[in-house]
């Protein structure tokens, strides 16, 4: 199938307006005749569900949480970008577009990214109107801070809890529509299949996580807003429930999966402390505004630090290597995430890492505390410092934080066109679960921007184009495709429950995560990826013969939920490896060791790989087929990213 991006022709700045004019509209009286299912209630899902309901569509919103407010968007700390240029520092829509394209290492679609930058300004207005308490200056106007990969201050924030405040804003808008009866809310309901009728998405199959009841729901269109797949790696900064099941089941029903190997390793996370570790905790990138990253200059000194013989605060300036400031004088500690992560890894590979494991570097606030005050630092980062102390029992006001990169975000996801429609007509993907805007590396404070852009402003404009061409007849679950999908879900559950093997779902998940992190993590090479593929196939085989789940379907059964998600992670993991092996270049978060500059920076191959790799599911245990969407750049010149 030819991949049509449907990005409008014409000058970049006019594309979105032109497109909005050209798409078909559903007249206001007809909107109430259409049902739309929205799966996921994070920023993208809650914003979409609320906005579609405001327009008049009948929305059914689904979340596996007990409340829409629990979605993992809530944990985003640092902020949200917008091209407001409130700081008079030279920002513009074009600059935000340019920074995002460049930050993504030229692997995103120009038209999408420009639209994102355009609507970014509306997002801030919308959120302020909802009562989101953004940080403010003494004059009462909105405050900004800077973030990695940018040289302007365009990040809006609410202390270190920006995601929480934005999600609660979207949740409040959603709650209002629930009260109006325009959104029917299904909590503790997990999507287990997408129903496709005559080639069009017509509904979903869900499992009630309290009673186990498997239900089918019909609609005229389905919007997935189900987040990223970082938990393939077992340890990540994602919440424990984050999973790939919705996206993966959609993929198996015909939605192409794009650039699965583009995963983001965030440089500043609290290091692993033991085998029992269940997840990793991020320390916001905003900390790199004021914190300075360093390791001991020599291996000998680092070793003494690791043994606890020397304290970091007692190490003199001359014995420290502020490696980001040294190597990238222009951006310093604010280089993009992929660059910061790889450099931290390199320091640890050189045996200059710190902490008992040697897998950490310092993020030091001594200078800013001296320059301003501990109180000023607390105003900005108080909750982060507290969280760090709770987890590590160390006081970052007195000694530098120990940080290490961890999986944080996935740029890959379901392939979507400019309308955010997947390759299955009527099936849309928004927020992190699509692939569209961040290329091979996402800049900080851009995830919240994209989730809300998709939910508040893009999908409400584009979904009408599809619905207007769909007759406004009531939809039901009578079609045999619903019964078939439901039976498939039930059979799979029965299978998981009947294996009664010796290994828990978590043990399989850990084994998978270990392979993914070692061979498809911060650095990859062909040999390692081939090994990983063979290992993942072994894990898959063992999973389906040896997984242990107790209890039944007809109850709250968290081990069953987990087993089902792990089974999907295993299959997606293999596709990530295939994609990483296919992409014989380094770009953004995808660093193939064979392809680097003499200075160790990512070496792109624009001639052969300036495309989106969109994988097509071909059936159980069959190799997936690669489809390509060539990326054309009319407005930026492809250069090697330099942050020096």
């Amino acid at each position: 199938m030819e991949l049509l991006s449907k990005a409008p022709e014409g000058p970049l700045a006019e594309k979105w307006d032109k497109h909005k004019f050209n798409v078909k509209l559903v007249n206001p009286a007809n909107k109430r005749k259409y049902d739309v299912i929205v799966v996921g209630t994070g920023l993208a899902g809650a914003a979409a569900a609320a906005s579609l309901a405001e327009l008049g569509y009948n929305v059914k919103a689904f979340t596996y949480h007990d409340s829409p407010r629990r979605a993992h968007s809530i944990a985003a700390q640092g902020g949200i970008n917008a091209a407001k240029n409130y700081q008079n520092d030279g920002d513009s829509v074009f600059r935000l577009f340019y920074d995002t394209i460049k930050g993504g290492d030229y692997r995103a679609r120009e038209a999408n990214v420009y639209r994102l930058a355009q609507v970014s300004v509306n997002i801030i207005d919308q959120c302020v109107a909802q009562g989101v308490p953004f940080a403010r200056e003494y004059g009462g106007l909105l405050a900004n801070r800077s973030f990695g990969g940018a040289q302007v201050s365009r990040t809006f924030y609410a202390r270190g809890q920006t995601g929480q405040q934005l999600l609660l804003g979207a949740y409040s808008a959603l709650s209002r529509q629930v009260a109006y009866g325009k959104v029917k809310l299904y909590t503790r309901s997990e999507l287990l299949d997408v129903v496709v009728v005559d080639g069009q998405a017509r509904g979903i199959v869900t499992r009630n996580l309290v009673t186990g009841e498997v239900q089918t729901h019909a609609s005229h269109a389905v919007v997935l807003a189900t987040g990223g797949y970082g938990n393939v790696f077992y340890l990540s900064t994602n919440a424990m429930y984050c999973n790939a099941t919705a996206a993966w089941r959609a993929h198996k029903k015909g939605a192409y999966f794009a650039n699965p190997c583009f995963t983001q390793i965030h440089p500043t996370c609290i290091p692993v402390s033991g085998d029992y570790q269940s997840k990793l905790t991020l320390m916001s990138e905003s900390l790199r505004n004021d914190g300075r990253v360093w390791v001991p200059k020599t291996v000998e000194l680092a070793e003494r630090v690791r043994k606890g013989e020397v304290k970091p605060q007692d190490i003199g300036e001359d014995d420290r290597d502020y490696f980001l400031e040294r190597k990238y004088p222009a951006f310093g500690n604010l280089v993009p995430r992929d660059v910061a992560s790889r450099n931290a890894k390199q320091m640890c590979d050189e045996k200059r890492g710190v902490g008992a494991s040697g897998l950490a570097v310092y993020l030091d606030f001594a200078d800013v505390i001296k320059r301003t005050s501990a109180e000023a630092v607390s105003q900005k980062y108080g909750n982060l410092f507290e969280m760090y102390e709770k987890i590590t029992d160390e006081d970052p006001y007195k000694q530098p934080m120990r940080i290490y990169p961890a999986v944080h975000y996935t740029m890959g996801g379901l392939w979507v066109d400019y309308n955010l429609q997947t390759t299955v007509p009527g099936l849309y993907a928004t927020g992190e679960c699509n692939f569209s805007d961040h290329g091979a590396n996402r800049l900080g404070a851009s995830a919240l921007m994209q989730g809300l852009a998709d939910g508040y402003f893009v999908i409400p404009s584009t979904i009408g184009d599809y619905l207007a061409a769909t007759p406004p007849k009531p939809v039901t679950t009578d079609h045999p495709a619903f019964a078939e999908a439901k039976a498939g879900v039930q059979a799979r559950t029965e299978q998981l429950l009947s294996i009664n093997g010796n290994k828990t779902p978590d043990e399989f998940h850990k084994a998978l995560g270990h392979i993914m992190w070692e061979y498809c993590g911060m650095a990859r090479n062909a040999e390692g990826l081939k090994y990983a593929k063979a290992e993942i196939q072994k894990i898959k085989k063992e999973f389906w013969t040896n997984v242990k789940v107790v209890g039944s379907n007809d109850e709250m059964n968290q081990a069953l939920e987990k087993a089902s998600r792990v089974a999907d992670f295993i299959e997606l993991g293999e596709l990530m490896v295939d994609d990483a092996l296919n992409r014989n270049e380094s770009c953004g978060g995808h660093f193939r060791e064979e392809y680097q500059t003499p200075e160790g920076e990512a070496l792109r191959d624009d001639e052969h790989y300036a495309y989106v790799a969109a994988w097509e599911y071909m059936g159980e245990n069959q190799p997936e087929r690669l489809n390509k969407e060539e990326l054309t750049f009319e407005n930026v010149k492809l250069t090697q990213r330099s942050y020096k």
């Binding site: 914003a47 906005s51 405001e54 007990d66 409340s67 407010r69 629990r70 979605a71 993992h72 809530i74 944990a75 801030i124 207005d125 302020v128 109107a129 009562g131 308490p133 940080a135 403010r136 009462g140 909105l142 609410a158 809890q161 929480q164 405040q165 609660l168 949740y171 409040s172 808008a173 709650s175 209002r176 909590t187 309290v210 919440a239 424990m240 429930y241 290091p271 033991g274 029992y276 570790q277 269940s278 905790t281 991020l282 008992a356 494991s357 950490a360 969280m387 709770k390 987890i391 590590t392 029992d393 120990r402 508040y456 043990e507 789940v549 107790v550 109850e555 709250m556 968290q558 081990a559």
Partner: protein, 261 residues
Amino acid sequence: MAGSNPNAKPMNLTLRVWRQPNRQTEGRIVDYKVKDISPEMSFLEMLDVLNEDLLHQGQDPVAFDHDCREGICGSCDLFINGRSHGPEKGTTTCQLHMRKFKDGDTITIEPWRANSFPVNKDLSVDRSAFDRIIQAGGYVSVNTGGAPDGNEIPIPKDIADRAFEAATCIGCGACVAACKNASAMLFVSAKVSQLALLPQGQVERATRVENMVAQMDIEGFGACTNIGSCAAECPVGISLENIAILNREFLTAKAASNNLA
């Protein structure tokens, strides 16, 4: 450097855990032993160890709610040794670490106890009553699109900061569990205060507080008797001052209300 201390001594503990198969069946406390618990573990990681053991033995793992494990999503909700989220002040269960306990301890773990939060299974409860209170009025009625420029609504920094403090409520329900009356006043007051303080919330100020309080009563939460255990046990430090604001807002609204009910 305790945080990376490889020599921290592992602990053996006795857990007394509330087990209840579902809402319809009566529950009871069941004792379990866990061994070699690292002080560096979080409380939930300790429960993960228990659950992996149970699963290996073919027994039903303990159901509990949790998700972000960063103290922000509000999912985790354990009543530990008679306190919401356990012994550490200003901390959610997921951020409580085992270094706060000692070898040989017996730890009692129960779900939130409140009629308005019925048990789903074991330690998991249904907090949808909170969602319905928000649906009753915890919002500013603005549709997407057409909002004025963000800087057209200047807000004094101290007001914005106070609104932010109230807005940080994570909706976990610790306040209800800590209150002898199972009152939801702290939760409701946090949202009412946030929007009453901000200029954006003025238009619906009176109807909002009336409707949210009415829904709180419908859900069966108890009355407030100003004990203050809610604020003392709140993991994110929502202040009791918010309840004073709520009472004032409610009285003011009622005094001018057409709704005489």
